[in-house]
């Protein structure tokens, strides 16, 4: 039964892509329309309904301040996606800029930028993020910036590699001979052609950023209460794990599913773009 189901699922070519799109779409809609979907105010404290198990009134139960977990998770989706998009936006901007410069100008500039990438890769990024957070304040803005600033290295390497081959292609030479300036060459002729792998990296990057944010919030160094985030709901649930399983199960599950969705989407786009895999 299970085998046949799995076989069916995997034999269809676009099923992983559809599944990824479905998860990402649902989560995005939940985040955008949070005020309409959430049955309660996510920060409304209700001392009469502390640690209620899931019921008709509270689908996913309540936390130790009587707040509705489902509503908090819907608003938490906003935080997760927001962090994911902004952090990846920052890492893409830095990565693309440095990658283009390194790949196009080569020589000394390339050497300097790539050694900087090596240095950044030597810091276990979670240590680096925590260290910077310790010197600043843990806040939503700060963690988005810090995650973005510590995750651009992969994109820079990708864009550099693409630029290295693209700058020798005929159409780029043709554009240069027709008088296109460096700026135009990079932005109009090289960058668009280097974008496909970057798109894949960006999608996978959102997943990674969501994971990092939830881990930081779980450790109490990310999004600060009372703003709800999946990570800090789990943190608050940890102390009452023995009596309130719903606080530890559902937020974790939504992190897992969301990250899975972005990963599926990213991997499917990669497969679609890679002509070598099409033969299989």
């Amino acid at each position: 039964m299970l085998y046949r189901f799995l076989k069916k699922v995997f034999s269809s070519r676009y099923i992983l892509l559809s599944l990824g799109l479905f998860i990402v779409g649902t989560m995005s809609l939940a985040a955008i329309f949070a005020p309409l979907i959430a049955p309660y105010d996510p920060t409304q404290i209700n001392v009469d309904a502390i640690l209620q198990p899931p019921s008709a009134a509270y689908i996913l139960g309540t936390d130790n301040l009587g707040r509705d977990v489902f509503s908090r998770m819907i608003y938490g989706a906003r935080i997760s996606l927001w962090v994911g998009f902004v952090a990846v936006g920052i890492s893409l901007s830095i990565g693309i800029l440095l990658g283009l410069i390194a790949g196009y100008f080569g020589r000394f500039i390339d050497e300097v930028i790539m050694r900087f990438v090596d240095v950044m890769l030597c810091f276990p990024s979670f240590f680096l993020i925590l260290a910077v957070i310790a010197f600043l304040e843990p806040s939503l803005t700060n963690i988005m910036i810090v995650i973005g600033l510590t995750s651009w290295m992969g994109v820079a390497r990708l864009v550099r590699a693409e630029t290295l081959t693209l700058r020798e292609r005929e159409f780029v030479h043709a554009a240069r001979l027709s008088g296109a300036g460096t700026f135009r060459l990079l932005l109009v002729h090289i960058l668009p052609n280097a974008m496909p792998p970057v798109l894949v990296a960006a999608t996978l990057g959102i997943a990674a950023a969501i994971l990092t944010e939830s881990a930081l919030s779980f450790l109490g160094l990310g999004v600060q209460p009372p703003i709800p985030s999946w990570g800090n709901i789990l943190m608050e649930g940890k102390d009452v794990m023995g009596i309130a399983y719903w606080l530890s199960i559902f937020p974790g599950l939504s992190i897992l599913i969301t990250v899975l969705g972005y990963n599926l989407l990213g991997e499917s786009i990669r497969d679609l773009l890679d002509p070598r895999l099409k033969q299989n």
Binding site: P124, S125, L136, S248
Partner: protein
């Protein structure tokens, strides 16, 4: 010649990266608002401008910034990271040193497990590509990639610590550890470290087995595999001698690259399971804003990662006859 050149280039690279690590770390220290002497001067009602100047002289803060950097590097090179700001005021290096063994052994044990499990998974997935084993492993890999390690740890604590209490969920040893026999001590350690090592292993397994599968598929597509099969060699020899040896080469590189993630994971796992390792120390120092301790940890883990990268590179050079024998041929 080839080998010598490679080693020289590597040493140059090492120097540049070390310089970069210290510069970046030094810059992070200066992210903190205010001056390190604020605690004793501006914020203290009894201290005046004179006391402030005196303190700045003691700490060398009146020097230009590049001199401060050089002095800092000099002290770091001698493993002098200053004193912890916490109540015990112990030297940072002492606090770090006593915690290295636990973190290092956790990471090494997990790494061995990850390799021991993911390599066979990768081989069989690649050999029977599209079969039921490969498909179920693909599902496992996708879930493993998306699994937050702290949530996995929470679930395990809930399952095996509360609802079905078979494993202790915090610390390294039981209270009566001193009185146990040798085997009792070993069993006690294993019971305490089983869950943390499981979390480490599961989170690393997904990536490594996926990588091994891709690498093996790539190799099996090569002409020399076809030749070996055509010669009539047994499948076992083709797969393990011709295939596996070549497929393992990229794994050495990826091992070095995956080191930072593994070490980074110890912050989460050690804090959740209350294991007194480097990760927990780092987490505590961040919470307490114990700046000297944070910097000591940061410099140490980055240098450890660098060392891991170098080892991986060396391993690659030794395993690849084209590089290893390159010197003899010239």
């Amino acid at each position: 010649m080839n080998l010598v050149k490679r080693v020289l280039a590597k040493i140059l690279w090492l120097g540049i990266v070390l310089l970069g690590i210290t510069l970046l770390s030094f810059w992070i220290i200066h992210l903190a608002p205010g001056s390190p002497t604020d605690m004793q001067t501006t914020l203290s009602p009894t201290a005046g401008a004179e006391a402030r100047e005196r303190l700045e002289k003691i700490y060398g803060l009146d020097q230009p910034i590049h001199i401060q950097y050089l002095n800092w590097v000099k002290r770091v090179a001698l493993l002098d990271f200053g004193q912890s700001l916490s109540g015990d005021h112990r030297p940072v290096w002492d606090k770090i040193r006593e915690r290295i063994p636990l973190t290092l052994s956790l990471n090494i044990i997990s790494l061995v497990l990850i390799l021991g499990i993911s390599i066979p998974i990768g081989i069989f997935s690649a050999l029977y590509q599209g079969g039921w084993f490969d498909r179920s492993m693909t599902i496992f890999v996708f879930i493993g990639f998306a699994m937050p390690s702290f949530w996995l740890a929470l679930l395990l604590m809930m399952a095996f610590g509360i609802y079905w209490p078979v494993f202790p969920i915090s610390g390294v040893t039981s209270l009566d550890f001193e009185y146990l026999s040798f085997w009792g001590k070993t069993a006690d350690l294993v019971r305490h470290l089983a869950l943390p090592i499981f979390v480490f292993t599961i989170t690393g397994l997904a990536g490594m087995s996926r990588f091994m599968r891709t690498s093996m598929l790539e190799v099996l597509r090569q002409d020399y595999i076809l030749t070996a099969k055509a010669k009539g060699l047994p499948v076992r020899v083709v797969v393990f001698k011709h295939g596996l040896r070549n497929a393992l080469m990229p794994v050495i590189t990826i091992l070095g690259l995956s080191l930072p993630t593994l070490i980074g994971g110890s912050v989460i796992v050690e804090s959740i399971f209350s294991l007194p390792g480097l990760g927990q120390l780092f987490y505590q120092s961040v919470l307490a804003r114990d700046y000297p301790l944070i910097m000591g940890n940061l410099v140490l883990v980055s240098v450890l990662t660098l060392a891991g990268n170098l080892l991986a590179d060396l391993g690659y050079a030794l395993a690849d006859p084209r590089i290893r024998l390159g010197a003899g041929r010239q």
